[in-house]
Symmetry: C2
Subunit: 102 residues, 2 copies
């Protein structure tokens, strides 16, 4: 049994106007995941929408964890919260998430 966390964003402001702002968000998240102690993290990826379908959101993160505890360590990690507060929240137009077990 694993827990998968999925979150999709659309942007406003600078993040909507400039792909480099979103790449900065992606780089900060990748660095956080790479350099932090996140026990029970199985896989983690993020990226900008590839433009294959009309009406899509603009950015996604997908993390797979051993269990809910491992997910909450990731969710609540201080560096994760810092990136969310300083780099993500100012630019969120819409955010949609699901966590599911499989």
């Amino acid at each position: 049994m694993s827990v998968t966390h999925v979150v999709l964003f659309t942007w406003h402001g600078d993040a909507a106007a400039d792909p480099a702002v979103v790449e900065g968000i992606a780089d900060a998240l990748r660095r956080f995941v790479r350099e932090s102690d996140l026990p029970g993290l199985q896989s983690w990826t993020c990226g900008r929408d590839a433009g294959l379908a009309a009406g899509n959101a603009e950015f996604a993160c997908v993390g797979v964890f051993d269990d809910v505890d491992a997910y909450t360590v990731y969710r609540d990690h201080p560096e994760h919260r810092r990136i969310i507060d300083e780099q993500i929240k100012p630019y969120i137009a819409e955010r949609t998430a699901v966590q599911f077990t499989s």
Copy 2:
């Protein structure tokens, strides 16, 4: 380089009222993925939101593919389209998707 497809749903009608309807959708999708010839499919999971956060969507599917061609074979497979048309579309309140490379 892989292509990750993520789609989140909220439901209305019978799917919103009865978890068994959503489990029927999940079972049909799992059977399609398990029993179909889907070259370049690396992983595929789906599930109902676990209720860990307020404001979440209600259901997610996450597929990882070798490339865009592998994703489009999955997307356009006749059995997939049948499940979408007959079992999913009647109950969609909101649908949000992203495809990204990583």
